[in-house]
Symmetry: C5
Subunit: 363 residues, 5 copies
């Protein structure tokens, strides 16, 4: 939408700095002329080794060489920038459309012999009120025989670690774009684990509180918040798991051939997360019902207490009422010890009541 | 049922006006002689370009030409009108039956090498009471090798935008009826998104209210209304998603050949909507349970308040009752400061009670 | 079980009359000699046209002719009568067993190149208490290459309409037994729709009442009754849908060859009913939960009202109690306007309470 | 575990008597020497006709003859006895292990060209408290080309009826072991029906009570007991249904060849039971929720009654309190008709309250 | 992580002792030099018979011989130790990674012609508070053509019993690594049964308490604890069952060929456990709902009691109030028996109330 170098003034420096800190060549000369902020890096590789940082315009040339592959990382590109990439790489219109609009569900689609994958990142964040929420970002990956283009959206953490690792292990990078695709997926999926651990910890905390009296309100709020977070993670994980299951065994896309065990490993991680999510969901449902039971139970206890104290107060009131009657002939009223006796009746009655209520656990 | 030009007097003008406003040639000469109100347009195309608006009677001729295709749009046609079309295009009796009766579930059926699709439109509408409801309309589409006939029922918005876009892009329209079918589906599906967004917003609004005291009744009503709307959307989306899944990969109908990626894209959108609906349903169920918990909790709090205040009132009443007794010998009654003392006992007792109830959060 | 002409005296006439009224030749000569009451009709067809009403004993002969087919309709036959038919048509023992015992689930089974289908009819009926219930009847259909035998049990409405329609359309009847089978299924399935509409209307009526105060008890009873009816319909529809799905596409029974589009149409109707049933079930579950919430809410409101009025009564009682004390020195008691003042305190206190309770919606 | 003739002294006679009563040759000579109590019968057949009761040691000889088959029925055999049988028939170690340990889930397994089936019997029984419970027994069936060995455990009713029927119909028994296997399954499955009918009747009884006031506790207990019984039946039926589904259509075990229609019939019965169980489960869930609603409703009604009567008592108490005040100047106290007037106020107030509470259905 | 002999000082002796007690050659010479604590045993077999305890360094040599196989058992090895094993056996990097990190879901994966299995052990343990919890341990098994390596983590019980049994039955051990793999799985699965029995017993205990008054709180806690344990077992069983289902029938891994019946037996046990778990879960859900109903019911009973006693106290209070009024003209006050009469009215009124409340079961 916004043409040119959108964040040039405010953000370019920081990103360049960021990249420098991560050990990249900060190709600052691009920033002024073109939206290099959105361009995290653009590198050509040959035989698993880095050849050079290349300018955008040269991409198509490098992609044309049979023994080269180009790996480009972008961050929230504008429509124009994306279109330029689409032209350089020859991407399919529908895939580019999806990347442009964002907000796709996780998926892996084949377009001829290239792949288009949408991954969701999930990041914990604090609301202004101090509540933790999970934010969902998006990574769109275009993978061809000799290129990988990753487009990152609404997510803070990038993939420089993936690139660094890949460059350290040229024997794996030699596998080409399939390996890079695996490494990106693996990285995204690995980031789900701390999130999931956080949710499990949260459930355990609630479980510790669930049978504590007077915690029902905070429990119910915590349970609902946990459910909301769980759904964010579930929406990231489940469709991806389903899609990853088609990358090994049976007929697999050309690009993934020979890497079946790696993609099965990713699938396996996703399946583990999936099962844990389902387990938490199941426990959540039970916990909500149990909590409802605890609320009813606590109300029942309040009612019992109310009833017991009402009785303890009502009995002396009744006795007092009787001796407040104005009958002419009420012999007790004449007795010297009538008053203390009446009070004694009240007190003893109440003590008896008190201990009986204690015995039946109403007090 | 009703023969001839059903809405001729009242509606024809407005429809013609409508069409004119959308940039069509208002073929008003048809209106008087034939139910042109139900006929939104009837155009022949060749090589992706518009050839001419054609009269109904010529349809079969154009359909007979190998390089031509005819695209007809109707709105709530009468039985006779539909039968005429069936004759011109050679439609299958069962499909025409379905279109005639309406109220079909969404589906895509093959009849020989032609397709019959039922799509549901979903439109938000206000009831006289000001509540928003979702109304479900129907679009029946007959697709043959060189014709497309769309029959729109109980839905306000038409498909002129689809036709306009198609005519602007002759290179796509060249694909023929398969492309038009895709464009119609894509248009119908795209209209689900704002509806879905509305439902998500509604859920978020309820979620903001769900832990607010005294909002239980309005929440429960809102949750039920949301569920009702969700079901309308679900009934439109789920069967269509299932049907669309058979238009790509594996064996596909002849008409859709070569357009697999387009139909997969539609499927993908439907699947995203489906997942979001399921997510909302799941949250709704939890929200209803949580709301039930909040009601119980709030009742529990009322009972506590009731109990606390009852105690605060009952204690002085009891004390007063005691000093209202008529015993001859009650020394306190003779004391000069008996009365203020008694009142002091009452007040101090109540203050003590009050702060204790505050402490245990009953007040 | 009962041999011979079971209902001869009481029912034969009425049935014959019934048939006569429907335009059949009332073959009353059979009634005296044989249980013709259970035999609704027995007709041979050739090339789609009625040949003749034939006696039972001739069935095997007509079935033997290659260009003929025989269509027999029975109503609650005795075991003997069924056995005679089994012998004439050469029916499979297990299928006849099923028809004899009745109370089968809906199904369609192949026995060699013949079919045995069990369909459930569903009819609304009033109990003596005036409640509407759904009664499930059974239609067993034996279909061979050139015969159709339908056995109707526990259901009032017959299939004379199907026969009349078939005889009016010889070009369809020419398809033979497969078409008759389709027509019978279509008729049974079509009868589900008004039942389903009734259930939807019932749900809507309940939904109108669900947020109305003090309707909880009648709502909960209506919801349960609706659920019961829904289950009757579901048990008729779901197994039949599953079975019908095997009559088109892929490998189909010989008899149904070439009629795939017709059986798909029946399947489609069943699927629509199935989806609607599932939708109603889902809404029912939610409605029951919502109703539970409304009950809790209404209880909560009662408790609030109770608490408010208790306070309004208790405050004057307390004040009165205080001035009922018998202390010697209580200056207020001496005041001329003491009494009105005390009453004023009570009244003002109550008015203040009343409006405060109004404000917080407890009253 | 226990070697030899376990129940020889106490049970042998009775079992022999039992068998005699059922028309078997009571081979009592075996009882003394060997655990014939556990051996119900051991018979060789040829061409569908009984050849002879044979001693255990001869089994392997008869099994070796191509035109013979041996049918042995055992009841709770000891480990040694089972091992002897395993040796005679050449049974697979794992299958024998399963039979030895018992408590298997229902299943049908192929071992080479023999079958091993575990069936569950379900029998109603009374607890000492008079509650009805369902007890699950086990029948292990080993089926080979020319032998059937049935091992009955924890179940009272045997299969003499099956044998008697089979011996009466030599033309069916001629089918060999496959037919016997079918007959045993059919017998076990047929016994589920009265159990299922009992559960349906039980549900209906509960349904009659569910909207009756003050029946909530007994209803909830009955619902839970019904659920428990349902689960016993479900655990017997569901796995067996699944296993039976593999005995017809597609690739079937050698032994069942040509009997597809019979096993489909068994499957069909199991499926009917399965569907009914699911239906009852569904209604049960709803009934439990409805019952919960009734409890809440009844509590709500109690609260209303409590509130109404509290008001009716509190109003006169308040009035009395007011006229119990000791103000010097209270003109009403001097009035001659003051007292009756005050009482009249109380009574009229209460009557007014009473009818108002009646009107709003609180009383 | 920790290099070398981690538990050398404290644990080595005990482990060696343990092994000695189990009849192993305690190769203590390894313990000092290398983390032999983690190495439970390392043995080579030929033709089903033990050849020798071999040092780690010789493993690759023995694995190289075609007629030998090596069976190594480890306990919580360090990363270095695992890497050494990986080198000796030539294990796949991803599988070793999984074993290193632990906390995998149960699974069985093929890597070329070797298998990698993750099994979960489940052990009951007491918390410091005395509650029983289920702890989940892990066993990673690497199986190749002629080796088995088991890595045990976070679980107390080892597999010496499996080895002892295997060595006693050389005819089975001859099957090679496939048999050892089966024996390990069988052992792990067999250990689930007592756990499952414990859970069933727990459910039965709760069921006995569920309709007992005042047990709601402990029941709800017990139900939740049971659910938690059930989930631990479920997470161990379900994925393993799924994975085991691929080891027989259809295409099976090379190593498992010819052992289909054994793995089906394991599958069958897992399926039985699975079904029982699902049964318990289902009953648990119902039990939680029923418990909720019991809580509501008990609250309802408390409210009734409260109401009844409130009435019994309020009536005399009201009567007393009336005769406490100060009207000049109140004839009853003058009566000699006025007072006893008033008291009699109170007492009789209360007795009447009491028996009426008894009759309607409010008391």
């Amino acid at each position: 939408m916004l043409p040119g170098c959108r964040f040039a003034v405010t953000d370019c420096g920081s990103f360049v700095a960021l990249r420098a800190a991560r050990g990249y060549h900060a190709s600052t000369e691009h920033c002024a002329s073109w939206s290099s902020v959105m361009l995290i890096s653009c590198v050509a590789y040959q035989n698993g080794r880095k050849l050079a940082d290349i300018p955008i315009a040269d991409i198509s040339e490098y992609v044309g060489r049979p023994d080269c592959f180009v790996w480009v990382a972008m961050f929230e590109p504008s429509t124009d920038e994306l279109d330029e990439m689409a032209a350089e790489f020859g991407l399919h219109e529908l895939a580019v459309d999806d990347a442009r609009h964002g907000h796709q569900r996780p998926k892996i689609e084949e377009y001829g012999d290239s792949l288009f994958a949408v991954l969701h990142t999930v990041e914990a964040s604090k609301t202004p009120e101090g509540d933790e929420v999970l934010l969902s970002g998006e990574v769109d990956v275009f993978v061809g025989r000799n290129y990988v283009l990753s487009v990152r959206q609404r997510t803070k953490v990038g993939f420089s670690a993936v690139r660094a690792r890949a460059e350290r292990e040229p024997e794996l990078l030699q596998y080409g774009s399939g390996y890079v695709f695996y490494a990106l997926m693996d990285n995204v999926v690995d980031r789900y684990f701390p999130i999931l651990d956080g949710l499990e910890t949260e459930l355990e905390k609630i479980e510790e509180q669930i049978f504590v009296r007077n915690a029902a309100r905070s429990n119910i709020e915590a349970l609902y918040a946990l459910k909301q977070k769980l759904m964010v993670l579930k929406h990231a994980v489940d469709p991806l798991m389903e899609a990853t299951g088609r990358l090994y065994g049976g007929r697999v896309p050309q690009i993934c051939t020979g890497m079946g065990e790696y993609f099965r490993d990713v699938y396996d991680h996703l399946h583990r997360i999936h099962l844990t999510i389902e387990g938490i969901r199941d426990m959540l449902t039970t916990a909500i019902q149990v909590n409802l039971g605890m609320i009813s139970l606590s109300e029942s206890e309040v009612t019992k207490k109310l009833a017991a104290w009402a009785a303890i107060i009502a009995v002396p009131t009744m006795v007092a009422g009787i001796y407040g009657m104005n009958f002419d002939v009420m012999p007790e009223l004449k007795w010297t010890y009538g008053y203390p006796l009446a009070v004694a009746v009240m007190v003893i009655g109440d003590i008896w009541l008190y201990f009986n209520f204690k015995k039946v656990k109403w007090l």
